[in-house]
């Protein structure tokens, strides 16, 4: 059998869930505990990368298609920019934390901090999707037979 053994594959499938959960925690609590959008996004990407390593690119792309990754990448960047523009529109300054200014929440709570948790989410989406794309595109570069990267090309043309 090509690729990792059944033990590695089974363990990977279990561990991926925990890595993903940890990534979500790091993103969601980015404004309270160490971590944040960038680190959390990289951890989320690591979960997909583990899937690519253990089960192959096709399996990972079945769960996280190429088109979805590309759109999430752009959507994350646009959401972050929109949050910055929100400050310009409603508070008269680029990147002014307008939600916190209008309605300051209770400190040290999860739903608090105005645009900061939302910005963390935007950055996490962006970083996760783009690093997953890097992994997929780079693994297509390393081609032995013509098959696997023809798949990528056809996936892109959809």
């Amino acid at each position: 059998m090509r690729g990792p053994s059944i033990v590695v594959r089974t363990v990977a499938r279990w561990v991926v869930a925990f890595i993903f959960l940890y990534g979500i925690f790091i993103v969601a609590f980015g404004h309270l505990t160490p971590g944040g959008g960038f680190a959390g996004g990289v951890i989320l990407a690591c979960a997909f990368v583990l899937e690519v390593l253990a089960w192959g690119k096709e399996s990972a792309l079945a769960g996280f298609p190429f088109r979805v990754a590309k759109r999430l990448d752009s959507a994350g960047a646009l959401l972050f920019l929109a949050l910055a523009l929100l400050g310009l529109l409603f508070a008269g300054g680029f990147f002014i934390n307008v939600i916190q200014r209008v309605e300051p929440g209770q400190p040290l709570r999860l739903f608090n901090g105005g645009i900061i948790p939302l910005a963390n989410l935007a950055i996490a989406l962006k970083v996760c999707a783009s690093l997953f794309l890097v992994m997929v595109v780079l693994s297509a570069l390393r081609v032995r037979a013509g098959g696997s990267d023809a798949d990528l090309a056809s996936e892109e043309e959809e």
């Binding site: 309270l32 690591c46 934390n97 400190p107 570069l141 390393r142 013509g146 023809a150």
Partner: protein
């Protein structure tokens, strides 16, 4: 703690030298990874968990990608006489850098006493005292990254976006050219 830090830095320097001198590409990549993990532990010792987390996850990901990119690939070695002029220029530059670095190191605040502790009206004092009330974020690092220094983070996101778009544009043409049945040029 300083002793531990010095030990860690020595380990990182040795790993970096190994990365340069080793013949095998995979050993070189692993040695670079050792440098990264060493710096992550160093950040943790210096009470910077945010940077340590980011460092270690980025290190893991780049290590995986680099190992995947290098495994099974031959290292191209260059043989022949060394370029003496280039060597002389590099030596002179390193010497100059060393002299200036030693000069600058004397002006830095002593280890463990940041500028905030000495300059009363430094902007970072305001961040530390008013950060929670103004931004509502308990983690001051995130508050600085996403509120006070939002422009920097936007720039960073733009850099990442541009890099991904560029990489995909370049690699896509390569994978398109490799139509089924054709071998891809490495």
């Amino acid at each position: 703690m300083t002793n531990l830090l010095v030990l860690l830095l020595a380990f990182m320097i040795i790993a970096a030298i190994v990365a340069i001198w080793t013949e095998d590409l995979l050993s070189s990549v692993i040695a670079v990874g050792a440098v990264g993990f060493g710096s992550s532990v160093a950040f943790l010792l210096l009470s910077a968990p945010d940077v340590a987390i980011t460092q270690i996850v980025v290190e893991v990901l780049t290590l995986v990608i680099l190992i995947r990119a290098t495994v099974g690939r031959e290292a191209h070695t260059v043989s022949g006489a060394r370029d003496t002029f280039g060597l002389a220029v590099a030596g002179a530059l390193v010497l100059m850098l060393l002299v200036f670095t030693v000069g600058v190191l004397g002006t830095l605040p002593p280890f463990g006493s940041p500028a905030v502790a000495r300059v009363a009206d430094a902007p970072s004092t305001a961040y530390l005292t008013e950060g929670l009330a103004k931004t509502g974020a308990g983690n001051i690092v995130t508050a600085v990254l996403l509120d006070y220094r939002g422009y920097d983070t936007l720039g960073e996101a733009t850099v990442l976006f541009t890099a991904i778009v560029g990489a995909m544009a370049l690699l896509r043409r390569r994978s398109r050219n490799a139509a089924p049945g054709k071998e891809l040029q490495p």
